[in-house]
Amino acid sequence: MARSGNLLMKCAVNVSNLFYTYPDGTEALRGINFRVMEGERVAVIGSNGCGKSTLFYHFNGLFLPTKGTVFINEEEITKTNLDKIRMTVGLVFQDPDDQLFAPTVWADVAFGPRNMGLSKREVAERADNALNMLSIADLKDKSPDNLSGGQKRLVSIAGVLAMNPKIIVLDEPTSNLDPRTSRTVMHLLVDLSRRMNIALIIATHDVDAVPQYADKIYVMHKGRFVAEGTPEAVFSDASVIRGSHLRLPRIAHLMEILHKEDKLPIQNPYPLTIRAARSEIMRLMSGDKKQE
Protein backbone atom coordinates (compact mmCIF):
# COMPACT_ATOMS: atom_id res chain seq x y z
CA MET A 1 0.00 0.00 0.00
CA ALA A 2 1.13 3.50 -0.76
CA ARG A 3 2.49 5.60 2.06
CA SER A 4 3.15 9.24 1.38
CA GLY A 5 6.45 9.05 3.22
CA ASN A 6 7.91 6.75 0.60
CA LEU A 7 10.30 8.76 -1.56
CA LEU A 8 10.33 6.28 -4.41
CA MET A 9 6.60 6.69 -4.94
CA LYS A 10 5.57 9.00 -7.71
CA CYS A 11 3.13 11.74 -7.00
CA ALA A 12 -0.01 11.13 -9.08
CA VAL A 13 -1.85 14.33 -8.27
CA ASN A 14 -0.35 17.41 -6.72
CA VAL A 15 -2.45 20.49 -6.17
CA SER A 16 -0.87 23.54 -4.70
CA ASN A 17 -2.55 26.63 -3.39
CA LEU A 18 -5.55 26.29 -5.69
CA PHE A 19 -8.22 28.98 -5.86
CA TYR A 20 -11.29 28.91 -8.06
CA THR A 21 -13.97 31.57 -8.40
CA TYR A 22 -17.08 30.98 -10.52
CA PRO A 23 -18.04 33.64 -13.08
CA ASP A 24 -20.87 34.78 -10.79
CA GLY A 25 -18.36 35.53 -8.02
CA THR A 26 -18.82 32.42 -5.85
CA GLU A 27 -15.43 31.58 -4.33
CA ALA A 28 -15.69 27.81 -4.49
CA LEU A 29 -12.05 26.89 -3.73
CA ARG A 30 -9.90 28.98 -1.43
CA GLY A 31 -6.40 27.64 -1.17
CA ILE A 32 -6.33 23.88 -1.64
CA ASN A 33 -3.18 21.83 -1.12
CA PHE A 34 -3.55 18.20 -1.97
CA ARG A 35 -1.23 15.38 -2.87
CA VAL A 36 -2.05 11.81 -3.87
CA MET A 37 0.58 9.12 -4.48
CA GLU A 38 0.45 6.39 -7.09
CA GLY A 39 -1.79 3.55 -5.95
CA GLU A 40 -3.14 5.50 -3.01
CA ARG A 41 -6.84 5.57 -2.12
CA VAL A 42 -8.09 8.91 -0.93
CA ALA A 43 -11.55 10.07 0.10
CA VAL A 44 -12.74 13.65 0.15
CA ILE A 45 -15.65 14.35 2.46
CA GLY A 46 -17.39 17.60 3.21
CA SER A 47 -20.69 19.37 3.41
CA ASN A 48 -22.93 20.26 0.49
CA GLY A 49 -21.53 23.06 -1.58
CA CYS A 50 -18.09 22.89 0.05
CA GLY A 51 -16.42 22.56 -3.35
CA LYS A 52 -15.76 18.84 -3.93
CA SER A 53 -17.13 18.69 -7.45
CA THR A 54 -15.45 21.95 -8.34
CA LEU A 55 -12.12 20.53 -7.16
CA PHE A 56 -12.63 17.33 -9.11
CA TYR A 57 -13.25 19.20 -12.34
CA HIS A 58 -9.73 20.56 -11.97
CA PHE A 59 -8.10 17.13 -12.01
CA ASN A 60 -9.26 16.72 -15.52
CA GLY A 61 -8.71 20.24 -16.80
CA LEU A 62 -12.42 20.88 -17.17
CA PHE A 63 -11.85 23.97 -15.03
CA LEU A 64 -8.52 25.77 -15.00
CA PRO A 65 -7.41 27.38 -11.70
CA THR A 66 -8.12 31.02 -11.00
CA LYS A 67 -4.90 30.88 -8.98
CA GLY A 68 -2.52 28.03 -8.12
CA THR A 69 -1.40 24.94 -9.98
CA VAL A 70 -2.46 21.35 -10.54
CA PHE A 71 0.14 18.73 -11.43
CA ILE A 72 -0.78 15.33 -12.83
CA ASN A 73 2.10 12.84 -12.79
CA GLU A 74 4.41 15.74 -12.14
CA GLU A 75 3.24 17.68 -15.20
CA GLU A 76 1.34 20.92 -14.77
CA ILE A 77 -2.08 21.16 -16.41
CA THR A 78 -2.19 23.98 -18.92
CA LYS A 79 -4.39 24.74 -21.88
CA THR A 80 -1.96 22.97 -24.18
CA ASN A 81 -1.73 19.54 -22.61
CA LEU A 82 -5.39 18.93 -21.79
CA ASP A 83 -5.74 16.06 -24.24
CA LYS A 84 -2.89 14.15 -22.66
CA ILE A 85 -4.09 14.83 -19.11
CA ARG A 86 -7.59 13.67 -19.90
CA MET A 87 -6.27 10.34 -21.13
CA THR A 88 -4.34 9.81 -17.89
CA VAL A 89 -7.12 10.77 -15.53
CA GLY A 90 -10.45 8.97 -15.72
CA LEU A 91 -13.22 11.12 -14.25
CA VAL A 92 -16.59 9.63 -13.28
CA PHE A 93 -19.06 12.48 -13.00
CA GLN A 94 -21.61 12.98 -10.26
CA ASP A 95 -24.35 12.49 -12.88
CA PRO A 96 -23.81 9.49 -15.20
CA ASP A 97 -25.93 11.10 -17.91
CA ASP A 98 -23.14 13.64 -18.35
CA GLN A 99 -20.91 10.84 -19.41
CA LEU A 100 -22.74 8.39 -21.65
CA PHE A 101 -23.09 9.50 -25.23
CA ALA A 102 -22.90 6.44 -27.46
CA PRO A 103 -25.96 4.60 -28.72
CA THR A 104 -25.22 1.28 -27.03
CA VAL A 105 -23.50 0.30 -23.83
CA TRP A 106 -20.84 -1.60 -25.75
CA ALA A 107 -20.11 1.27 -28.13
CA ASP A 108 -19.76 3.56 -25.17
CA VAL A 109 -17.32 1.37 -23.34
CA ALA A 110 -15.36 0.62 -26.53
CA PHE A 111 -15.11 4.30 -27.43
CA GLY A 112 -12.05 4.97 -25.29
CA PRO A 113 -9.96 1.96 -26.36
CA ARG A 114 -10.86 2.58 -30.01
CA ASN A 115 -9.43 6.08 -29.76
CA MET A 116 -6.19 4.72 -28.36
CA GLY A 117 -5.43 3.20 -31.75
CA LEU A 118 -5.71 -0.42 -30.62
CA SER A 119 -6.58 -3.19 -33.03
CA LYS A 120 -10.20 -4.30 -33.35
CA ARG A 121 -9.53 -7.41 -31.30
CA GLU A 122 -7.84 -5.55 -28.49
CA VAL A 123 -10.64 -3.00 -28.40
CA ALA A 124 -13.22 -5.74 -28.08
CA GLU A 125 -11.16 -7.46 -25.41
CA ARG A 126 -10.81 -4.33 -23.32
CA ALA A 127 -14.48 -3.46 -23.59
CA ASP A 128 -15.67 -6.96 -22.78
CA ASN A 129 -13.25 -7.15 -19.94
CA ALA A 130 -14.48 -3.91 -18.39
CA LEU A 131 -18.08 -5.03 -18.74
CA ASN A 132 -17.31 -8.38 -17.17
CA MET A 133 -15.53 -6.83 -14.23
CA LEU A 134 -18.70 -4.98 -13.33
CA SER A 135 -20.87 -7.98 -14.30
CA ILE A 136 -22.92 -5.99 -16.76
CA ALA A 137 -21.95 -7.94 -19.88
CA ASP A 138 -25.63 -8.79 -20.42
CA LEU A 139 -26.44 -5.11 -20.89
CA LYS A 140 -24.00 -4.66 -23.74
CA ASP A 141 -26.48 -4.17 -26.56
CA LYS A 142 -28.89 -2.00 -24.58
CA SER A 143 -29.17 1.71 -25.10
CA PRO A 144 -27.97 3.71 -22.09
CA ASP A 145 -31.37 5.38 -22.04
CA ASN A 146 -33.11 2.23 -20.98
CA LEU A 147 -31.03 1.56 -17.92
CA SER A 148 -31.91 2.26 -14.32
CA GLY A 149 -29.92 4.89 -12.45
CA GLY A 150 -27.66 2.32 -10.85
CA GLN A 151 -26.95 0.52 -14.11
CA LYS A 152 -26.01 3.81 -15.78
CA ARG A 153 -23.55 4.44 -13.00
CA LEU A 154 -21.92 1.05 -13.58
CA VAL A 155 -21.62 1.66 -17.33
CA SER A 156 -20.01 5.03 -16.77
CA ILE A 157 -17.46 3.40 -14.49
CA ALA A 158 -16.82 0.66 -17.07
CA GLY A 159 -16.15 3.26 -19.76
CA VAL A 160 -13.47 4.78 -17.59
CA LEU A 161 -11.95 1.44 -16.57
CA ALA A 162 -11.63 0.35 -20.20
CA MET A 163 -9.08 3.11 -20.70
CA ASN A 164 -6.82 1.63 -18.00
CA PRO A 165 -6.23 5.04 -16.46
CA LYS A 166 -3.57 5.37 -13.76
CA ILE A 167 -5.72 7.82 -11.83
CA ILE A 168 -9.46 7.41 -11.30
CA VAL A 169 -11.51 10.24 -9.88
CA LEU A 170 -15.08 9.47 -8.79
CA ASP A 171 -17.66 12.03 -7.67
CA GLU A 172 -20.16 10.32 -5.34
CA PRO A 173 -20.00 6.96 -7.12
CA THR A 174 -22.44 5.24 -4.75
CA SER A 175 -25.19 7.80 -4.27
CA ASN A 176 -28.50 6.38 -5.49
CA LEU A 177 -27.10 2.85 -5.48
CA ASP A 178 -28.73 0.25 -3.29
CA PRO A 179 -26.53 -1.06 -0.44
CA ARG A 180 -25.59 -4.30 -2.16
CA THR A 181 -24.59 -2.73 -5.48
CA SER A 182 -22.80 0.04 -3.72
CA ARG A 183 -20.63 -2.43 -1.79
CA THR A 184 -19.85 -4.43 -4.91
CA VAL A 185 -18.67 -1.33 -6.76
CA MET A 186 -16.41 -0.20 -3.95
CA HIS A 187 -14.89 -3.67 -3.57
CA LEU A 188 -14.13 -3.76 -7.26
CA LEU A 189 -12.49 -0.35 -7.31
CA VAL A 190 -10.33 -1.04 -4.29
CA ASP A 191 -9.30 -4.38 -5.69
CA LEU A 192 -8.30 -2.81 -9.01
CA SER A 193 -6.41 -0.08 -7.29
CA ARG A 194 -4.46 -2.67 -5.30
CA ARG A 195 -3.69 -4.88 -8.26
CA MET A 196 -2.83 -2.22 -10.84
CA ASN A 197 -1.44 0.46 -8.53
CA ILE A 198 -4.12 2.93 -9.50
CA ALA A 199 -4.68 6.12 -7.53
CA LEU A 200 -8.32 6.46 -6.48
CA ILE A 201 -9.83 9.79 -5.47
CA ILE A 202 -13.41 9.59 -4.26
CA ALA A 203 -15.86 12.23 -3.09
CA THR A 204 -18.57 10.83 -0.89
CA HIS A 205 -21.08 11.56 1.84
CA ASP A 206 -21.08 7.97 3.07
CA VAL A 207 -18.86 8.37 6.14
CA ASP A 208 -19.79 4.89 7.34
CA ALA A 209 -18.17 3.21 4.36
CA VAL A 210 -15.13 5.46 4.04
CA PRO A 211 -12.96 3.76 6.70
CA GLN A 212 -13.28 0.48 4.84
CA TYR A 213 -11.31 1.57 1.81
CA ALA A 214 -9.58 4.92 2.28
CA ASP A 215 -5.88 5.18 3.07
CA LYS A 216 -6.36 8.83 3.73
CA ILE A 217 -9.29 11.19 4.23
CA TYR A 218 -9.47 14.89 3.45
CA VAL A 219 -12.17 16.92 5.15
CA MET A 220 -13.27 19.93 3.16
CA HIS A 221 -15.18 22.92 4.42
CA LYS A 222 -16.04 26.10 2.57
CA GLY A 223 -13.41 25.64 -0.11
CA ARG A 224 -10.56 24.63 2.20
CA PHE A 225 -9.24 21.44 3.73
CA VAL A 226 -9.71 21.53 7.48
CA ALA A 227 -8.33 18.09 8.32
CA GLU A 228 -6.45 15.26 6.66
CA GLY A 229 -4.94 11.95 7.63
CA THR A 230 -5.80 8.31 8.14
CA PRO A 231 -9.45 7.55 8.89
CA GLU A 232 -8.60 6.89 12.54
CA ALA A 233 -6.77 10.18 12.90
CA VAL A 234 -9.42 12.22 11.14
CA PHE A 235 -12.35 10.77 12.99
CA SER A 236 -10.60 10.99 16.33
CA ASP A 237 -11.16 14.73 16.33
CA ALA A 238 -14.93 14.84 16.50
CA SER A 239 -15.12 18.60 16.84
CA VAL A 240 -13.55 19.26 13.44
CA ILE A 241 -15.75 16.62 11.88
CA ARG A 242 -18.91 18.10 13.38
CA GLY A 243 -17.81 21.62 12.56
CA SER A 244 -17.71 20.59 8.90
CA HIS A 245 -21.34 19.41 8.84
CA LEU A 246 -20.24 15.80 9.05
CA ARG A 247 -20.64 13.13 11.66
CA LEU A 248 -18.67 10.15 12.93
CA PRO A 249 -19.36 6.76 11.38
CA ARG A 250 -22.26 5.26 13.32
CA ILE A 251 -20.06 2.54 14.81
CA ALA A 252 -17.58 5.11 16.04
CA HIS A 253 -20.40 7.20 17.43
CA LEU A 254 -21.66 4.22 19.41
CA MET A 255 -18.16 3.67 20.77
CA GLU A 256 -17.80 7.34 21.62
CA ILE A 257 -21.02 7.28 23.61
CA LEU A 258 -20.01 4.10 25.39
CA HIS A 259 -16.75 5.76 26.27
CA LYS A 260 -17.91 9.23 27.21
CA GLU A 261 -21.31 8.52 28.75
CA ASP A 262 -20.89 5.04 30.08
CA LYS A 263 -17.21 5.43 30.88
CA LEU A 264 -16.23 2.17 29.23
CA PRO A 265 -12.49 1.90 28.68
CA ILE A 266 -12.32 2.55 24.92
CA GLN A 267 -9.43 4.58 23.50
CA ASN A 268 -10.13 7.64 21.39
CA PRO A 269 -9.21 6.52 17.91
CA TYR A 270 -12.48 4.65 18.24
CA PRO A 271 -13.10 1.56 16.13
CA LEU A 272 -14.58 2.72 12.84
CA THR A 273 -15.64 -0.54 11.23
CA ILE A 274 -17.87 -3.38 12.30
CA ARG A 275 -14.88 -5.70 12.47
CA ALA A 276 -12.86 -3.38 14.71
CA ALA A 277 -15.84 -2.71 16.94
CA ARG A 278 -16.49 -6.40 17.29
CA SER A 279 -13.02 -7.18 18.56
CA GLU A 280 -13.12 -4.14 20.81
CA ILE A 281 -16.38 -5.30 22.37
CA MET A 282 -15.06 -8.84 22.76
CA ARG A 283 -11.98 -7.43 24.44
CA LEU A 284 -14.21 -5.51 26.80
CA MET A 285 -16.45 -8.48 27.47
CA SER A 286 -13.58 -10.75 28.40
CA GLY A 287 -11.21 -8.28 29.98
CA ASP A 288 -13.31 -5.51 31.43
CA LYS A 289 -13.02 -6.85 34.90
CA LYS A 290 -9.24 -6.46 34.74
CA GLN A 291 -9.38 -2.87 33.58
CA GLU A 292 -11.85 -1.65 36.12
Binding site: R86, G90, F93, D97, P103, T104, N115
Partner: protein, 271 residues
Protein backbone atom coordinates in the same frame (compact mmCIF):
# COMPACT_ATOMS: atom_id res chain seq x y z
CA UNK B 1 -60.42 19.65 -16.35
CA UNK B 2 -58.91 17.30 -18.81
CA UNK B 3 -55.21 16.72 -18.49
CA UNK B 4 -53.53 17.25 -21.82
CA UNK B 5 -50.14 15.65 -22.07
CA UNK B 6 -48.37 18.24 -24.14
CA UNK B 7 -45.01 16.67 -23.56
CA UNK B 8 -44.47 13.08 -24.57
CA UNK B 9 -41.58 10.73 -24.43
CA UNK B 10 -39.92 10.10 -27.79
CA UNK B 11 -38.88 6.50 -28.14
CA UNK B 12 -37.21 5.20 -31.27
CA UNK B 13 -37.11 1.68 -29.90
CA UNK B 14 -40.85 1.31 -30.05
CA UNK B 15 -40.77 1.93 -33.79
CA UNK B 16 -39.43 -1.50 -34.62
CA UNK B 17 -42.26 -4.00 -34.36
CA UNK B 18 -43.20 -7.48 -35.39
CA UNK B 19 -41.36 -10.73 -34.93
CA UNK B 20 -37.82 -11.00 -36.14
CA UNK B 21 -38.09 -11.83 -39.84
CA UNK B 22 -35.81 -12.00 -42.85
CA UNK B 23 -36.58 -8.37 -43.52
CA UNK B 24 -35.65 -7.44 -39.95
CA UNK B 25 -32.31 -9.17 -40.37
CA UNK B 26 -31.49 -7.69 -43.77
CA UNK B 27 -28.61 -5.20 -43.82
CA UNK B 28 -29.88 -1.69 -43.06
CA UNK B 29 -28.02 -0.28 -46.08
CA UNK B 30 -29.90 -2.61 -48.40
CA UNK B 31 -33.18 -1.62 -46.85
CA UNK B 32 -32.36 2.07 -47.07
CA UNK B 33 -31.37 1.80 -50.73
CA UNK B 34 -34.46 -0.30 -51.32
CA UNK B 35 -36.83 2.11 -49.61
CA UNK B 36 -35.39 5.06 -51.50
CA UNK B 37 -35.48 3.27 -54.85
CA UNK B 38 -39.01 2.00 -54.37
CA UNK B 39 -40.41 5.32 -53.18
CA UNK B 40 -38.67 7.13 -56.00
CA UNK B 41 -40.08 4.67 -58.47
CA UNK B 42 -43.54 5.13 -56.96
CA UNK B 43 -43.50 8.89 -57.31
CA UNK B 44 -42.32 8.53 -60.90
CA UNK B 45 -45.35 6.44 -61.85
CA UNK B 46 -47.96 7.86 -64.17
CA UNK B 47 -50.59 5.21 -63.44
CA UNK B 48 -52.17 4.41 -60.07
CA UNK B 49 -52.14 0.66 -60.67
CA UNK B 50 -48.60 -0.30 -59.70
CA UNK B 51 -48.57 1.95 -56.59
CA UNK B 52 -51.81 0.37 -55.44
CA UNK B 53 -50.29 -3.01 -56.05
CA UNK B 54 -47.24 -2.00 -53.98
CA UNK B 55 -49.54 -0.82 -51.20
CA UNK B 56 -51.22 -4.24 -51.16
CA UNK B 57 -47.85 -5.96 -51.17
CA UNK B 58 -46.73 -3.80 -48.23
CA UNK B 59 -49.88 -4.78 -46.37
CA UNK B 60 -49.16 -8.44 -46.95
CA UNK B 61 -45.62 -7.90 -45.67
CA UNK B 62 -46.92 -6.11 -42.58
CA UNK B 63 -48.99 -9.14 -41.72
CA UNK B 64 -46.13 -11.42 -42.70
CA UNK B 65 -43.84 -9.84 -40.12
CA UNK B 66 -46.68 -10.00 -37.56
CA UNK B 67 -47.06 -6.28 -37.08
CA UNK B 68 -49.72 -5.74 -34.39
CA UNK B 69 -53.05 -4.76 -35.91
CA UNK B 70 -53.35 -1.48 -34.01
CA UNK B 71 -49.95 -0.36 -35.21
CA UNK B 72 -50.78 -1.40 -38.75
CA UNK B 73 -53.99 0.61 -38.66
CA UNK B 74 -52.24 3.64 -37.20
CA UNK B 75 -49.16 3.75 -39.38
CA UNK B 76 -50.23 2.18 -42.66
CA UNK B 77 -53.91 3.13 -42.80
CA UNK B 78 -54.82 6.10 -40.63
CA UNK B 79 -51.74 8.27 -41.21
CA UNK B 80 -51.37 7.92 -45.02
CA UNK B 81 -55.08 7.92 -45.72
CA UNK B 82 -55.68 11.09 -43.78
CA UNK B 83 -52.92 12.80 -45.79
CA UNK B 84 -54.02 11.21 -49.04
CA UNK B 85 -57.70 12.08 -48.65
CA UNK B 86 -56.93 15.74 -48.00
CA UNK B 87 -54.71 15.84 -51.07
CA UNK B 88 -57.35 14.00 -53.09
CA UNK B 89 -60.07 16.51 -52.25
CA UNK B 90 -57.84 19.52 -52.73
CA UNK B 91 -56.59 18.32 -56.10
CA UNK B 92 -60.06 17.42 -57.38
CA UNK B 93 -61.25 20.94 -56.79
CA UNK B 94 -58.19 22.93 -57.72
CA UNK B 95 -56.33 21.08 -60.46
CA UNK B 96 -58.58 22.06 -63.36
CA UNK B 97 -58.75 20.54 -66.82
CA UNK B 98 -60.85 20.48 -69.96
CA UNK B 99 -63.38 17.66 -69.76
CA UNK B 100 -65.93 18.50 -67.08
CA UNK B 101 -67.53 15.35 -65.72
CA UNK B 102 -69.63 16.71 -62.88
CA UNK B 103 -70.03 19.61 -60.53
CA UNK B 104 -70.26 20.01 -56.80
CA UNK B 105 -72.25 22.97 -55.49
CA UNK B 106 -71.36 24.83 -58.63
CA UNK B 107 -67.66 23.92 -58.57
CA UNK B 108 -66.74 22.18 -61.79
CA UNK B 109 -65.05 18.78 -61.51
CA UNK B 110 -62.87 17.76 -64.41
CA UNK B 111 -61.80 14.38 -65.64
CA UNK B 112 -58.14 15.37 -65.51
CA UNK B 113 -58.45 16.50 -61.88
CA UNK B 114 -59.98 13.21 -60.93
CA UNK B 115 -57.41 11.01 -62.55
CA UNK B 116 -54.51 13.10 -61.22
CA UNK B 117 -56.08 13.06 -57.74
CA UNK B 118 -56.39 9.29 -57.82
CA UNK B 119 -52.79 8.98 -59.00
CA UNK B 120 -51.55 11.17 -56.13
CA UNK B 121 -53.69 9.23 -53.70
CA UNK B 122 -52.14 5.98 -54.85
CA UNK B 123 -48.61 7.41 -54.73
CA UNK B 124 -49.05 8.70 -51.20
CA UNK B 125 -50.48 5.57 -49.64
CA UNK B 126 -47.96 3.41 -51.49
CA UNK B 127 -44.89 5.41 -50.50
CA UNK B 128 -45.96 5.76 -46.89
CA UNK B 129 -46.65 2.05 -46.66
CA UNK B 130 -43.15 1.29 -47.97
CA UNK B 131 -41.69 3.73 -45.45
CA UNK B 132 -43.71 2.10 -42.67
CA UNK B 133 -42.40 -1.35 -43.50
CA UNK B 134 -38.89 0.08 -43.55
CA UNK B 135 -39.34 1.78 -40.15
CA UNK B 136 -40.95 -1.27 -38.59
CA UNK B 137 -38.08 -3.53 -39.55
CA UNK B 138 -35.00 -1.32 -39.18
CA UNK B 139 -33.24 -0.05 -36.06
CA UNK B 140 -32.70 3.66 -36.37
CA UNK B 141 -29.17 3.17 -35.07
CA UNK B 142 -28.30 0.82 -37.92
CA UNK B 143 -29.55 3.42 -40.38
CA UNK B 144 -27.41 6.07 -38.76
CA UNK B 145 -24.35 3.85 -38.94
CA UNK B 146 -25.16 3.16 -42.56
CA UNK B 147 -24.70 6.85 -43.26
CA UNK B 148 -20.92 6.33 -43.05
CA UNK B 149 -21.20 4.05 -46.01
CA UNK B 150 -23.23 6.56 -48.02
CA UNK B 151 -20.31 8.99 -47.64
CA UNK B 152 -22.20 11.36 -45.42
CA UNK B 153 -19.58 13.65 -43.79
CA UNK B 154 -18.25 12.28 -40.53
CA UNK B 155 -19.33 15.26 -38.44
CA UNK B 156 -22.89 14.78 -39.61
CA UNK B 157 -22.91 11.10 -38.68
CA UNK B 158 -21.40 11.86 -35.28
CA UNK B 159 -23.94 14.61 -34.78
CA UNK B 160 -26.74 12.23 -35.72
CA UNK B 161 -25.49 9.49 -33.41
CA UNK B 162 -25.18 11.85 -30.49
CA UNK B 163 -28.49 13.47 -31.27
CA UNK B 164 -30.17 10.10 -31.05
CA UNK B 165 -28.93 9.63 -27.52
CA UNK B 166 -29.76 13.18 -26.45
CA UNK B 167 -33.19 13.16 -28.01
CA UNK B 168 -34.01 10.35 -25.67
CA UNK B 169 -32.29 11.93 -22.69
CA UNK B 170 -33.82 15.37 -23.13
CA UNK B 171 -37.21 14.05 -23.97
CA UNK B 172 -37.15 12.06 -20.74
CA UNK B 173 -35.95 15.11 -18.89
CA UNK B 174 -38.66 17.29 -20.38
CA UNK B 175 -41.30 14.73 -19.48
CA UNK B 176 -40.09 14.73 -15.89
CA UNK B 177 -39.91 18.52 -15.68
CA UNK B 178 -43.39 18.65 -17.10
CA UNK B 179 -44.51 16.24 -14.43
CA UNK B 180 -42.83 18.35 -11.77
CA UNK B 181 -44.78 21.37 -12.92
CA UNK B 182 -47.96 19.37 -13.15
CA UNK B 183 -47.47 18.08 -9.62
CA UNK B 184 -47.32 21.66 -8.41
CA UNK B 185 -50.53 22.54 -10.24
CA UNK B 186 -48.65 24.09 -13.18
CA UNK B 187 -51.25 22.90 -15.66
CA UNK B 188 -54.31 23.06 -13.48
CA UNK B 189 -57.63 24.06 -14.97
CA UNK B 190 -57.55 27.35 -13.11
CA UNK B 191 -54.63 28.63 -15.16
CA UNK B 192 -55.20 30.43 -18.43
CA UNK B 193 -53.86 29.36 -21.81
CA UNK B 194 -51.20 32.04 -21.69
CA UNK B 195 -49.83 30.88 -18.35
CA UNK B 196 -49.68 27.30 -19.57
CA UNK B 197 -47.76 28.30 -22.68
CA UNK B 198 -45.45 30.32 -20.47
CA UNK B 199 -44.86 27.29 -18.26
CA UNK B 200 -44.04 25.24 -21.36
CA UNK B 201 -41.58 27.91 -22.49
CA UNK B 202 -39.90 27.68 -19.11
CA UNK B 203 -39.42 23.96 -19.57
CA UNK B 204 -38.02 24.52 -23.04
CA UNK B 205 -35.69 27.23 -21.81
CA UNK B 206 -34.48 25.11 -18.94
CA UNK B 207 -34.03 22.21 -21.31
CA UNK B 208 -31.82 24.22 -23.64
CA UNK B 209 -29.64 25.62 -20.87
CA UNK B 210 -29.25 22.23 -19.34
CA UNK B 211 -28.46 20.75 -22.73
CA UNK B 212 -25.71 23.26 -23.34
CA UNK B 213 -24.19 22.79 -19.91
CA UNK B 214 -24.34 19.05 -20.27
CA UNK B 215 -22.71 19.46 -23.67
CA UNK B 216 -19.58 20.82 -22.02
CA UNK B 217 -19.36 17.96 -19.57
CA UNK B 218 -20.03 15.33 -22.18
CA UNK B 219 -17.27 16.81 -24.22
CA UNK B 220 -14.87 16.53 -21.30
CA UNK B 221 -15.92 12.93 -20.80
CA UNK B 222 -15.28 12.22 -24.49
CA UNK B 223 -11.88 13.87 -24.35
CA UNK B 224 -10.95 11.92 -21.27
CA UNK B 225 -11.52 8.88 -23.40
CA UNK B 226 -9.21 10.05 -26.12
CA UNK B 227 -11.62 11.79 -28.46
CA UNK B 228 -9.94 13.62 -31.33
CA UNK B 229 -11.40 15.14 -34.46
CA UNK B 230 -10.77 11.89 -36.36
CA UNK B 231 -12.36 9.43 -33.96
CA UNK B 232 -15.68 7.95 -34.88
CA UNK B 233 -18.36 7.03 -32.40
CA UNK B 234 -19.57 4.12 -34.51
CA UNK B 235 -18.25 2.06 -37.39
CA UNK B 236 -19.68 -0.10 -40.12
CA UNK B 237 -18.49 -3.25 -41.83
CA UNK B 238 -18.00 -3.29 -45.61
CA UNK B 239 -21.07 -4.40 -47.56
CA UNK B 240 -21.03 -8.10 -48.39
CA UNK B 241 -21.26 -9.23 -52.02
CA UNK B 242 -24.63 -10.82 -51.39
CA UNK B 243 -26.06 -7.61 -49.98
CA UNK B 244 -24.58 -5.59 -52.83
CA UNK B 245 -26.36 -7.94 -55.20
CA UNK B 246 -29.60 -7.34 -53.31
CA UNK B 247 -29.22 -3.61 -53.80
CA UNK B 248 -28.70 -4.03 -57.51
CA UNK B 249 -31.73 -6.27 -57.78
CA UNK B 250 -34.00 -3.86 -55.91
CA UNK B 251 -32.88 -0.94 -58.03
CA UNK B 252 -33.34 -2.98 -61.21
CA UNK B 253 -36.84 -4.01 -60.16
CA UNK B 254 -37.73 -0.41 -59.40
CA UNK B 255 -36.54 0.76 -62.78
CA UNK B 256 -38.35 -2.11 -64.42
CA UNK B 257 -41.58 -1.15 -62.68
CA UNK B 258 -41.25 2.42 -63.92
CA UNK B 259 -40.66 1.15 -67.46
CA UNK B 260 -43.72 -1.07 -67.28
CA UNK B 261 -45.69 1.89 -66.02
CA UNK B 262 -44.48 4.13 -68.82
CA UNK B 263 -45.21 1.52 -71.50
CA UNK B 264 -48.77 1.26 -70.24
CA UNK B 265 -48.87 4.99 -70.67
CA UNK B 266 -48.56 4.53 -74.42
CA UNK B 267 -51.38 1.99 -74.45
CA UNK B 268 -53.56 3.39 -71.71
CA UNK B 269 -55.27 6.65 -70.98
CA UNK B 270 -54.06 10.19 -71.06
CA UNK B 271 -52.06 12.33 -68.62
Amino acid sequence: MRLINYVQEVDFERLVVGSSSTIHRLDARVKLVGAFALIFCIISMKQPLIPLFIFCAATVICFGIKMPLMIYLKRVVLLPFSVAVVVLVVVIFTYGGEHQVSSFFGLPIYHESCSFAVLLFARIIASISVLSVFVATTEVMAVTEAMHWFKVPKVMVDLAVMMLRYIHLLSGESVRMYRAQASRCGFSGRLGYKQKLKNLSTIAGSLILRALKRGERVYAAMLSRGYTTDSKITEIEPLSAKNALFCVIIIAVSVLLVIVDRIWLGVGTCL
